[in-house]
Amino acid sequence: MGETTVFEARRIITMDPSCPEATHVAVRDGRILSVGTASDFVGLPLDQRFAEAVILPGFVEGHAHVMEGTLWKYTYVGAGERRDPAGKRVAGLASIDAVIDRLAQAHDADPGDSVLVGWGFDPLHIAGARLTRRDLDRISPDRPIVVFHASLHIIVANSRVLDLAGFTSETAIAGVVKHEDGAPSGELQGIAPRLRLLRALGWTSWTGDLEPADVVRFAGAAQVQGITTIADLHNDLPARTVEIYRAACTPDLPVRIVPALASASCAPEEGVARIAALRAENTERLRFGLVKIIVDGSIQGFTARLGAPGYHNGAPNGLWYVAPDDLKRIVGIYHAAGVQLHIHTNGDEATDAALEAIAAAQEKTPRADHRHTLQHCQMARPEQLARAKDLGLCVNLFSNHLYYWGDVHRDITIGPERVARMNPAASALRMGLPFSIHSDAPVTPLGPLFVAWCAVNRMSSSGAVLGPDERLSIEQALHAITLGAAFTLHMDTQIGSITPGKQADFAVLADDPLTTPPEALKDIAILATVVGGAVHPTAARA
């Protein structure tokens, strides 16, 4: 039996309904031993380093991607401030010139001839300005340069890359965007230009094969945001990735990682066998078991499948990534085998297809407590939430959308009525539907307090409040980013609240979120995390 540490705090918010508040928590062998106040721990030595701070259960990010770790090896050029895996603030860039300046600095700092890569470019939040080949050519005429848009669907290449790829004014495919003069603008989208780029740049896969350092950066980026458990919610999990995960997820890693197998990577029968084999070697830091299915595309990309009345601007309906009948088959096989599914649906028609598939599976093989989770589920109508509840589903809502694309959704994609019920967290709560909220990092920045801020304020980037009746209280939002998310990962017996017997996973905050004005929730500093009893201070606060 190991030593007992008693942490003292200004306040401990436990998320445990029978003991919601405390000031002291005792930890032994990585687990929570007891929770109480000073009088419960008289005579014991106290660890007072967090005595002025507020302790919460470690945050649980139920929907992110390990690509967050991969991208941080490149230069961030997005419009909003982000925090890098070392905890350093990386300022947002408000203009094309600022983007070019930062890339030029990266080029000067490491002038080699490798490809210079930028990521996170976000035209929407710099007044629609588009980045072109000519802008990038100002950095270097010789070095290959590419910049990923925040959506990851568009890549901008400089002239050197276009030359290498052989894209000219004669290239006649839609994915090679042209200037008015007929020359390629540098913007590339879709699979055809991507393959050409891969081959021209001598890359083997799109954002590079996973490397051990990517996992470490992923963990770092999560840790500085107070996250102690994070899902990598769509991964083909080739043997090499699994090996790297196993090697990287040592007991020293400051987060627990929960990768979800991409259903599209193999037939469901094979997926069932793969999950069984992967689960057999789960550790406390690396937990396999989930399968992710993507049903449709994105709302802002007009690729989500919407029910009537469709897109607000009249755009044609989006794309199925899995046909409704096929979804039924795939869900049925995993469900019968006892696997937990996380199903991406953005549009409400896709959500209907997922609900039908689950209903059919439940009818054939009734299963209690399966906790299949609809991921994003952004346009859920009230009756869909009711049916989800009825079928034993959870939802993980994409609250950050309200801030980043809320104005676009109101004006262009789905209109004011449907934006008011977008990511309807308060409705889910009222109906008793288990739910969480997420960032989908790197699509939007990692940071549960920011996600909670979005769900509490429902404010768009222009300052409009979208659907005030769907706002959560701060307490409700904090539940969603801790125990709520742990529940959707089927890990609530181990994490998510400060309860004796659970893992000693904490987020240590500089201020008390329950007494902070809602608009300031996102600005509370994370001082440290505790994972399995081990303290991980968040580094540089620059």
Partner: protein
Amino acid sequence: MRPPAPASRPRQPLTVIGGFLGAGKTTLVNHLLAAGERRYAVLVNDFGAINVDAGLIASHDGQTLRLTNGCICCSLGEGFLTTLARVLAEPEGFDHILIEASGVGDPSAIADIALVEPDLVLSAILVVVDAESIASQLRDPRIGGTVLRQVQAADLLILNKCDRLDAAGRAQARAALEALAPRCPVLEAVEARIPADIVTPGLAPARSRFRAASPARHEARFGRILYERSGAFDPDGLRAALNRTPASLLRLKGWVRLGPYATPHLLQMVGRRWTLTPAPETAPPGDGIALVGIACGAVPAGCALADLLDLALLHAPVPRPASSPALPRTITGDTPRCH
């Protein structure tokens, strides 16, 4: 940085096989594999559904099945781009690359790859349609748009499972397709059995086990076309003619000569998709135009085609000058698509 293809290595013809779930895409792949004796690379969604004689398997690593005859079969499990990049990096090229598109995918998105990859040339987009359910699929508000996009992307439509409909039903299904894709040939089939000659690249006829098995039925349904002329085509005239061929024309291939200097080119046409490739200097064909083709039905299509092509002939080709003009380039057809 870019690993250049060896200069001698010809572009590899790519055929994309699209169509909704259950239409018979994998059946068609299996049929083409069995019917030809070429070096194929095949990329499929579901490995297990491909019929391979166990005796032919040289190696199998879970993602790639290598056969003793040089063919390879790849599952798309590790991602489409990664898999295709791996196939293109194979030391020896393939006679034909077949890609089975996803049942909900738009095959033209994959076909675009061959329009920008210097190692590839797009042979055709084949779209397999389930004759029995196409009408209800197109009416289905959930999947109708997906099926429509597939049909409109096709260079050649294969109306499969025709044995499940009577003559009237087949005619109805055919009419529905013809209305949606007016210039696209529609080939009726059972169990996706189509003459492999229609879709296999190259000039030599594929030695087809299937043809050997039942030549009579084929010859009754398909007319063979032979078009031979001396002289050369006007390039713009030929382009216009090829963009207006009758929808009954399924296949046309052979040597043509273009322009005032009668520069030899190889014409490959599958369905409504055509490509003219300058002839390699080392392989000068005869001295005229020699095309062979396959059409639905018999003589009328051949006559109509000959009339159309004749209009594009130049009257008097001039001898090629000693110093050669600018190198001729590959010319491809502009296939109209509705998006």
